[in-house]
């Protein structure tokens, strides 16, 4: 199914340079009433024309959620969330009209200008056809609020047997796959936010790579939170069969808001024998203003299951946005010789709070995991690395290496490290090291004496500090991420 002209326009506006990310689009919304109850869930389910089993699954999740308590173990503080004061369903009715730039917070505009968006796919979305065989290409599945508006490159992908579509569509077209894998990695009752997501998720991405297929392009999705008071509950499911390979890119932006917005996504990855999944995220949602007003609450459950032997799941994330980040992309290493990786840069400034890390659960023999986490705190922010490495008795010869480094900029911020290391197999070898320091005066002096401004010097040092992670990012993201780091830290060095 080719995207129609209207959809292309919509997405074009979304990614358009002058449009940027800093204001809400005045689209007529189809909103469900505020609040959460079984009727709302039935409404979501019926609007999406879902089969009975999915509605039942949602209701079961909701019932589980009701019995759970919001977790309080993370090192984050926020006023209590009123879950009844949110819209759980919003679908755009009309395409957005153009808006004047005058309404945009100039601070935000300035930031985005500095960032630039090297979005190769912009031209594609606008309908410009690339010459045959030009590579690499990026396919975009844009989530405009809760309903996926457009998916491009469907035909190219379909030729190689790859399914890449909104999950709501997958429910209609490939119900057997969705039913088999949905909730198989993150069960409905896994945690408070995952249960909430399972009950009310509206859309997200679905990727299926069949046996032996190497996905011909990098898959990408741009999430965007738009409607006032709309919690976003994406659900992403990626399945790679034996010997398949996929690289998935996820980037996020959000318009400026005064109210805090809740975002509770669930991402599930399944890798069978010899399959590889690379999942990269650049997250720069609205972090709130200098005084900590507004900003996104990002409570995400991301987990990958290395089901097959020699499978590999690699998470790379650059987290600079959100008022609160609560996110632990994890790997369950079930298959023998499977590999889990986690590369993370988390930057917090002003009043941001990040509690992020990973879990590596070693179940199979000779499973290996690598964790490289870099935390940078500035302003009055708090940045916590929280990670678990667990080796179960059967994981003969398991291997883990963990490196966590924290950088503090300014004396009003906090940097914390909370690793859990649990080994129940003597042949496993686990190594963990963590350091905390500030940018050394010597390094700064060296750069300054060679004519770099203070901010450029800090940007350069910070990029060096994060190099191990940034080099794991696909090219499309690496440039953006480097700029993002420098821009995020602007003004925090004095």
């Amino acid at each position: 199914m080719a995207a129609d002209v209207e959809t292309i326009d919509t997405v074009n506006a979304l990614a358009e340079g002058g449009y940027k990310w800093g204001f809400s689009t005045d689209i007529e919304m189809d909103l469900a009433p505020k609040g959460l109850n079984e009727d709302i869930i039935r409404l979501i389910s019926s609007r999406k024309n879902e089969p009975e089993w999915l509605l039942e699954w949602r209701l079961k999740s909701y019932a589980a959620w009701l019995t759970m308590e919001e977790p309080d173990w993370a090192m984050v503080n926020h006023p209590p969330i009123d879950y009844q004061d949110l819209h759980y369903y919003a679908a755009p009715k009309k395409k957005p009209g153009p808006k004047s730039l005058d309404e945009v917070d100039p601070e935000l505009l300035k930031m985005y200008e500095k960032l630039g968006i090297p979005l190769k796919e912009r031209a594609i979305l606008a309908g410009v056809e690339l010459p045959e065989g030009e590579a690499p290409q990026v396919a975009v599945d844009a989530v405009f609020d809760s309903v996926s508006v457009a998916t491009t490159f469907r035909s190219t992908l379909a030729k190689s047997g790859v399914i890449f579509c909104p999950i709501s569509e997958a429910v209609q077209d490939h119900p057997e796959l969705v039913r088999k894998y949905l909730g198989s990695v993150v069960p409905a009752g896994d945690n408070y936010f995952a249960a909430l997501n399972s009950a009310v998720f509206t859309d997200g991405s679905f990727v299926f790579i069949p046996k032996g297929v190497r996905c011909p392009m990098e898959l990408s999705t741009y999430f965007r939170i738009n409607a006032r008071n709309t919690g976003q509950f994406e659900r992403t499911l990626i399945i790679v069969e034996d010997g398949g390979h996929v690289s998935y890119l996820e980037g996020c932006t959000a318009p400026q808001r005064d109210e805090n917005q809740l975002h509770a996504a669930v991402v599930e990855l399944v890798a069978m024998d010899d399959a590889t999944i690379k999942y990269s995220t650049v997250q720069n949602w609205y972090p709130g203003d200098v005084n900590g007003v507004g900003g996104i609450y990002n409570f995400v459950t991301k987990r990958g299951a290395c089901r097959g032997a020699r499978s590999k799941i690699s998470w790379t994330q650059v987290e600079t946005g959100s008022a609160i980040t609560w996110k632990y992309p994890s790997c369950i290493l079930q298959g023998d010789d499977s590999v889990g990786e986690f590369y993370s840069v988390a930057v917090t400034t002003n009043h941001q709070q990040a509690d992020t890390g990973t879990k590596m659960i070693h179940i199979g023999r000779n499973t290996r995991s690598t964790i490289v986490a870099k935390g940078i705190s500035a302003g009055k922010s708090n940045n916590t690395y929280r990670g678990l490495v667990r080796v179960l008795p059967k994981a003969e010869g398991a291997r883990n290496f963990t490196q966590c480094d924290s950088l503090l900029i300014g004396n009003q911020c906090g940097a914390h490290t909370v690793p859990y290391i649990e080994s129940r197999n003597a042949t496993a070898k686990l190594e963990h090291e963590a350091t905390t320091s500030k940018i050394s005066d010597d390094q700064l002096f060296y750069c300054r004496s060679r004519g770099l401004s203070q901010e450029d010097a800090v940007g350069m040092i910070v990029n060096g500090f994060c190099r191990d992670v940034l080099k794991e990012l696909p090219m499309e993201f690496a440039v953006e991420a480097q700029k993002l780091l420098a821009v995020s830290l602007e003004g925090s060095v004095g």
Binding site: T417, P419, A428, L430, A434
Partner: protein, 424 residues
């Protein structure tokens, strides 16, 4: 929590301790108000359970299954237990089942010692540590040792003997308090041995004045059936040093918790430990170092050797307050797993609010290096001996900073005995 619910084992156990307190309340020495407060805490919260973050790796279930009694007034000569205490040329204070035994002790001349009642001190936090609340509620006796300013009091040995006189489990909760005046020095060697089933729940507070140095060496070789749940509070003033080492070999279920606060600039704390575990032993070493002043340094080297089906736990937290600029914090935690059925859980933690700091921690878990073993074997060293050499080398890094010769010798002897027991 509804009163109609059936109490859990942990709740019942707390209730049993509480009812023991009710019975003893009128007879216990010292201020009863502080005990009542502690009892109130236990009554409302119970003993720590696995849902509490600080207790996620150490479950007190097996403790809750035992009924503990008040120790009887000890009359035995304890000769057998005493023979296990290494001979130090130093005054020693001997506690049997938590009660001071004048007839067995020699009192130091350079430090003032007061016994016959609990030495509560001012540092303990019964409100946040439930086992300290338990101790506060039931403490009967303890040593109050103070070293005057400028005095080097040499070595004092503090001995705890846990007896199995009547074949019934007893619980004792000694409460010690040590204070060092400005520039004072003291080496406290704590040795604990015992037989049979008992609960040893000591709390020891150490106040180190500016420029003073406290060396605290502990050998915990208690009964393999005993529960040992100890808490140490150390508060170090400007330029002072608290230098501690714990060798833990004994006990069935043990936890040694240390809260060290560096309260004045240039203070130093060393919290080192070695844990050697076998069979079904469970040992937990938990430390919290609070850097509350600039220019302080803390060092930790913790080594755990596990065999059999044992389980080792290390939780180490370094907290750096906003004022504590130029903090130097280092923590190394390593575990050696000698058998396929043991488990190590480690949680090193940094909580840092100051920017100009140098803090790091490292943790490793693994088995003996096959290449190192091969190296030794290929040079004709028998397998068992090669393993022992490597284990000893592994432990050496932790033992190295101990400068007190007699204690070090005693520790090495205890480790050698432990190894013989494993090899047999």
């Amino acid at each position: 929590m509804s009163a109609a619910l059936k109490p859990t084992a942990l709740q019942s156990s707390a209730l049993a301790f509480l009812s023991r307190f009710e019975g003893l309340r009128a007879r216990l020495p010292g201020d009863v108000a502080i005990r009542d407060e502690a009892a109130g805490i236990l009554r409302s919260t119970g003993l720590p359970g696995p849902r509490e973050e600080a207790w996620r790796y150490t479950h007190l279930r097996s403790l809750a299954e035992v009924e503990f009694n008040e120790p009887l007034t000890p009359v035995a000569d304890c000769a057998d237990l005493l023979s296990r205490i290494p001979d130090f040329d130093a005054p020693r204070l001997i506690f049997v089942d938590g009660r001071f035994r004048d007839d067995l002790s020699t009192v130091p001349s350079l430090a003032a010692v007061r016994v016959g009642g609990p030495a509560f001190g001012a540092l303990a936090q019964p409100a946040s540590e439930k086992l300290v609340a338990l101790n506060t509620m039931l403490a009967e006796d303890g040593a109050d040792i103070s070293v005057p300013a400028g005095v080097d009091a040499g070595t004092v040995v503090l001995v705890s003997l846990g007896t199995d006189l009547h074949g019934r489990a007893v619980a004792f909760h000694p409460r010690h308090n040590i204070s060092l005046g400005k520039g004072a020095k003291l080496t406290l060697v704590e040795i604990a041995v015992g037989d049979g089933v008992y609960l040893h729940n000591p709390v020891l507070s150490v106040a180190v004045s500016p420029e003073a140095t406290m060396t605290h060496l502990r050998i915990q070789d208690e009964s393999r059936s005993a529960f040992v749940l100890s808490t140490v509070y150390a508060d170090v003033g400007e330029g002072g040093t608290y230098d501690s080492f714990l060798l833990a070999l004994g006990g069935k279920l043990t936890r040694a918790e240390i809260h060290a606060r560096l309260g004045g600039p240039n203070a130093i704390a060393h919290l080192n430990a070695a844990q050697l575990l076998a069979d079904h032993q469970h040992a937990d070493f938990t430390t919290i170092v609070s850097h509350d002043a600039p220019n302080c340094a803390s060092r930790q080297t913790v080594k755990t050797v596990l065999s059999g089906k044992s389980r080792g736990v290390f939780q180490g937290k370094i907290e750096v307050a906003r004022v504590a600029q130029k903090t130097d914090g280092y923590q190394m935690n390593q575990a050696l797993l000698l058998s396929p059925d043991c488990e190590m859980d480690s949680k090193p933690q940094l909580e840092i609010y100051a920017d100009d700091v140098k803090c790091s921690h490292g943790a490793t878990v693994g088995e003996l290096d096959a290449e190192q073993l091969f190296y030794l074997r290929s040079r004709g060293v028998p397998a068992a001996e090669a393993r022992m050499m490597l284990v000893r080398a592994f432990l050496d890094e932790a033992l190295e900073p101990i400068t007190h010769e007699a204690t070090r010798t005693a520790m090495e002897h205890a480790i050698a005995l432990w190894w013989e027991r494993q090899a047999a």
